[in-house]
């Protein structure tokens, strides 16, 4: 499989993520209003806008690892709340995993992505079914691995990862939240879609759009 995840692809990914967050900011905040504090869209939009600026300020030679590290540090510095450290940790662990590789192939991307998602679980102490972004991210990891193992290319594998993420997001909608602000609502958090799981799906959809195509 060709090494498709080069710096330009990473930039396309983050660009697309920024675009999706912008397009869905109101919806994310709306979801957070129902079971949280009405800021998830605002938080992420502030963060991704800052990421766009930060990446624009980086040399075009900047490698995958450093791009992801700047993304991580920018999110940590700008987002705040629960999602700031969580998405920040996701990108920080990915950056560490990427090291100084010039580009990654599908398997390399999958390994890196899993490292990031494990970071989210470690930072947030969430387990499956707690109704958090982890419930979208973890199934995506598994689907990605499975599809690659079955011989799919990264494009197809990310498509099934995105589908799995969306399924994970929807699977926990009827559940009672056990982490984050939504957990304060107890029973009343049931039957509401989790905002963080929703934005996590957008992150993977952005990857499917931006990283799938080898045309870079």
């Amino acid at each position: 499989m060709p090494a498709v995840v080069n710096p330009a692809a990473v930039r396309r990914w983050l660009d697309e993520f920024t675009r999706l967050i912008e397009a869905h900011a109101a919806e994310l905040t709306e979801l957070d209003a129902a079971i949280g504090d009405a800021d998830h869209g605002t938080n992420l939009q502030r963060g991704t806008t800052a990421v766009r600026e930060a990446l624009a300020g980086l040399d075009s030679e900047t490698g995958v690892g450093p791009l992801l590290k700047t993304t991580a540090m920018t999110l940590i510095s700008k987002v705040g709340g629960a999602s700031g450290p969580l998405y920040g940790t996701l990108f920080l662990r990915m950056s560490t995993a990427a090291g100084d590789s010039a580009a990654l192939d599908g398997a390399g991307f999958a390994t890196m992505f899993r490292a990031g998602v494990e970071g989210v679980a470690a930072r947030g102490k969430a387990v499956l079914g707690d109704k958090t972004m982890y419930d979208a991210l973890a199934p995506a990891c598994d689907a990605l691995d499975a599809a690659l193992a079955a011989g799919s290319d990264l494009s197809a594998a990310l498509d099934s990862a995105a589908a799995a993420a969306a399924q994970g997001r929807d699977f926990v909608t009827p559940l009672v939240a056990r982490k984050g602000r939504a957990s304060y609502l107890g029973q009343r958090s049931a039957d509401h879609q989790d905002p963080g799981a929703t934005s996590a799906v957008l992150l993977i959809q952005a990857a499917a759009t931006a990283l799938g195509s080898p045309a870079n």
């Binding site: 605002t42 987002v79 709340g81 629960a82 700031g84 984050g180 602000r181 957990s183 609502l185």
Partner: protein, 342 residues
């Protein structure tokens, strides 16, 4: 949305600007959005740093000053501050005796302060953190995010602030803070939602005739929606779960039976849009209930000290007092929002 603001996105910074203008005795760093005691760092004194989302004013910036906080970090509206802010505040107040972080128990706050503590420790600063989680509306459990930090934070910042001012070391400050957390409980109710400026409409709809019981301070709905009740009934709905959660009377003694040895500090807090006339009326109801339950009030605080923007409603906080806590409560304090003895 009707608010005295300009740009919804600029509310936090512009309000800090006004705080800086009104309180030249404080150092307000608008870039970092931190508020620091004018004489920080105080050599040899433990530095107290707190912070959290904005929208809870006067908490925390209004409690910066002698005898209370050394610095406060103002996050975005209802969003915890980021580690950069906490680190900047830590650097500004570290007088060599270490720094105590006072963190309300919200996932975001906990994680951001945790990240900051890791980074500060890496820089060689001695840091301790204490998590405040006093809200009995939330079921406590190791499987969940746990209880929220609400009204007790105000009392804790005052009391530990006094201890730090009197020279307690970092371990003693942290231990005192944890003792306060162990001995304090809160519960709140909202009559209206608040409106986050960037959102522009109320976070939830609360029809006439209904109220939210067990709300936090971020405009999140409460545990339960119940019919709007009289002040008398609301007082009962707030006080009973607190008394059920922790014994506020001391039945061990024989002489003083039925009453806590040193009583409690009773704090009736307004959530932002509730006028003082109602808060004092509520205080009267709460004092009656406590008297009936054999809990004696040693000190009181009534007013809007930890708010949720323009939410109407109130919360009750009880803290079991002891002679040390009362002496520290009475010690001089000089901050924009809490001041006595100096």
């Amino acid at each position: 949305m009707k608010k005295l603001i300009n740009d919804p996105a600029a509310v936090v910074t512009e309000s800090l600007r006004g705080l800086a203008a009104a309180h030249p005795e404080l150092r307000v760093e608008l870039d970092q959005r931190i508020v620091v005691r004018g004489d920080a760092p105080v050599a040899g004194k433990v530095g107290l740093v707190s912070g959290g989302g904005s929208g809870h004013e006067p908490l925390h910036a209004g409690f910066v000053g002698a005898g209370m906080l050394d610095a406060a970090c103002a996050g975005e509206m209802f969003t915890s501050p980021v580690p950069d802010q906490v680190i900047a505040a830590t650097a500004a107040v570290d007088g060599g005796a270490g720094v105590l972080y006072i963190v309300k128990n919200y996932t975001g706050d906990v994680m951001n302060f945790e990240l900051a503590a890791e980074l500060a420790a890496a820089e060689g600063v001695q840091v301790e953190s204490v998590i405040v989680d006093d809200d009995v509306a939330v079921q406590d459990s190791t499987w969940t995010a746990g209880r929220r930090g609400v009204g007790l934070t105000v009392l804790l910042e005052k009391i530990v602030g006094a201890a730090a001012e009197q020279g307690a070391d970092l371990a003693a400050c942290a231990e005192l803070a944890r003792r306060i957390v162990a001995n304090g409980r809160s519960m709140g109710a909202a009559l209206t939602s608040c409106t986050v400026p960037a959102v522009g409409k109320p976070t939830f709809d609360l029809p006439d005739g209904e109220m939210e019981l067990g709300v936090g301070i971020h405009g999140e709905p409460g545990r339960e929606r119940v019919p709007l009740a009289s002040a008398h009934e609301v007082a009962r709905l707030l006080v009973e779960p607190i008394l059920a959660d922790l014994a506020f009377t001391n039945n061990e003694g024989t002489s003083d039976e039925g009453s806590g040895e040193d009583g409690v500090i009773c704090f009736v807090n307004g959530l932002g849009a509730t006028p003082l006339i109602e808060l004092y009326l509520m205080y009267g109801e709460i004092a009656d209930l406590l008297a009936a339950a054999g809990v004696s009030i040693a000190r009181s605080l009534v007013g809007p000290y930890i708010t949720s923007l323009d939410m109407a409603g109130c919360s009750v906080t009880l803290l079991r007092a002891d002679p040390e806590i009362l002496e520290l409560w009475d010690a001089p304090v000089n901050t924009p929002a809490l001041r006595w003895g100096m």
